[in-house]
Symmetry: C2
Subunit: 263 residues, 2 copies
Amino acid sequence: KAHVIVVGNEKGGTGKSTISMHLIVSLLDRGLSVGSIDVDARQATLTRYVGNRAARRDRAELDLPLPEHVAIPPTGDGAADCARLEEAFRDFAARHDVVVIDTPGSDHPMSRLGHSFADTLVTPLNDSLVDLDVLALVEPGTMKIRRPSHYAEMVWETKKARAMRGEKAVVDWIVLRNRLSTLDARNKRDMEKLLAELSKRVGFRIIPGLGERVIYRSMFLEGLTLIDLKKKPLGFDFNMSHVAARQELRTLVDAIGVSAAAG
Amino acid sequence: KAHVIVVGNEKGGTGKSTISMHLIVSLLDRGLSVGSIDVDARQATLTRYVGNRAARRDRAELDLPLPEHVAIPPTGDGAADCARLEEAFRDFAARHDVVVIDTPGSDHPMSRLGHSFADTLVTPLNDSLVDLDVLALVEPGTMKIRRPSHYAEMVWETKKARAMRGEKAVVDWIVLRNRLSTLDARNKRDMEKLLAELSKRVGFRIIPGLGERVIYRSMFLEGLTLIDLKKKPLGFDFNMSHVAARQELRTLVDAIGVSAAAG
Ligand SMILES: Nc1ncnc2c1ncn2[C@@H]1O[C@H](COP(=O)(O)OP(=O)(O)OP(=O)(O)O)[C@@H](O)[C@H]1O
Ligand SMILES: Nc1ncnc2c1ncn2[C@@H]1O[C@H](COP(=O)(O)OP(=O)(O)OP(=O)(O)O)[C@@H](O)[C@H]1O
Ligand SMILES: [Mg+2]
Ligand SMILES: [Mg+2]
C-alpha cells in the first residue's frame, strides 16, 4: 500500500502546489514511484507544473522522471466528483510507492475526502497572523489561543470520517511555515509561540520551514525544480540560496519519513 | 451612487483581504463613508480584521473610524447566496460613498456577481509565474502569451453580465504585483514583460505594486493598519518600511481615483 501525502490548508496561497511539486520530484529522485492527484483542478497549478515538465522532457529529450498524474476537475456535483477521486486514488494507491494529493485553498467535498486518505498531512502557511487565523482564533490582548478555527476543525472531522471507514485514524499532521524572510523578530516570535501552543492543543508537529527563495518559483514554466539542477546542462545558475533550499527540502522529506515506508 | 471597488483574483493568497482592509482604512482616513462586504465569509479574513478593529476601539476607547461591514457566508445554495449579496450591495451602494468587496481565491457564483458590480476591479498577484498562470498561459520556450486563462475569462464574462443588465460595461481593471522583494532581476523582468503584454491583450492597467513588508500583516489582531499609526500612542515603532508602505498605498488609492468620484 502506498504512503499517502496530502498537502492542505484552506488558506489560499500558502505554498501547497509548490510544496506538492517539490515533494513529488524529491521522491522520484529517491527512486520511488509516485502518483499525483490534483484536487484543485480548476486552478490546476500542479497539473500545469507537471504538464510543463513533460513538455520540457519531450522538447529537450531530457531524462526527467515524471509522476503518473491525474486532475479531477470539480463538476458541480460533489458526490460524483468524490466517486471519481476515490476511484483514481484506489488505483494509484495500489500501484505506486507514494501518492501526493494537492488540494485547493477552499472548502470542497473532494478536498475533505482527499484529506481523509492522508497518512501524512502537510500544512504550509505564511509566517503571518492572517494565515494562523484559519487554524486558531487568537485573543489580541493576551496573545492566547481562544479556540481552534475552521481548518483545524475540518481536519478533525476528516480523521473521524477515516475512523468511521474502519481505517486507522492516526494521521501524522505536519505544519511548516513557508516564505520565511530573514527580517523581523517580533512577528516571527509571536508566530513560533502561537504555533507551538496550538500544536499541543490540536495535535500536529512543527518542522523547520522554507525560506522565501526565487528558486522555488522561477522554473514553473520549465516544469523543473532545484532537485533537477544537479543534472547538467539545464542552463540555470547555482547559488547559496539553492544550497539552503535543497537542505530545506531534504528536512521536509525526511520529516515525512516516506522512503522507509515504501516497498 | 457609490464608487464600487472589488478586490479579486481566483489565485489564492495574493493579498486580496490585506489590500481590501488597507483600502477601507485609507478611504475612511480621507473622510469617505465606506461599506465593506466579505464574499469570502467562510474564511472571513476581512470580517475578522474589521471585527478586531471594532474590539480594539472599544477596548482602548480610541477614535478608530470603522466601515459598515457585512459578511455573506456561502450556504450551498448559490442563487440564495447571490440574492442576499445583491440586497446587501444595493443597500450599501445607496448609502455610502464607497463600497469595497473582498472575494475568495476560488470560483463561486457570489464572487462572479460581486465582480459584476465593480466600477474598479483591483487584482493583486505575487511576483511569480505561478500566479500569472491564472491570468494567462505562457509558452515556456518563447515566453510568449498563448492565451488568457480562466480568471481573465471570468472577468470578461462578468463584464458581459453587467452589460446584459443594461449597466455600463466599462470596468477599470487594475493589476498590481504584491509582496515584491528587492532581490532577483530575471524573474522580475519576465513578470514585467509578460504583464505588460497581457495588459494590452486583455485590457487592464498596471500600477506600481506593494513591497513585502511586515507592517502590512503584523497588526491584524489589533485591527490596525499603518494608516492608523500617525495617531499616537498606539505603541508601534515607525521605520523606513512604513514610510515606503504609506507611499505605496497612496499610489494605489490615487490610481483608483475614488475621492474625486464621491459626494
Ligand atoms: N518558499 C517559497 N519561496 C518563494 N515563493 C514561493 C514559495 N512558496 C510558494 N511561493 C510562491 O507563492 C505563491 C503561492 O504558492 P502556491 O501557489 O504554491 O500556493 P497554494 O497554497 O498552492 O495556493 P492556492 O491556495 O491558490 O492553491 C506562488 O506565487 C508561488 O510561486
Ligand atoms: N505586501 C505584503 N507584505 C507582507 N505580507 C503580505 C503582504 N500582502 C499580503 N501579505 C500576507 O500574505 C498572505 C496572503 O494575503 P491575504 O490573506 O490578504 O491574501 P488573499 O488573496 O486574501 O488570500 P485568500 O486567497 O486566502 O483569500 C497573508 O499571510 C498576508 O498577511
Ligand atoms: Mg495551489
Ligand atoms: Mg482573502
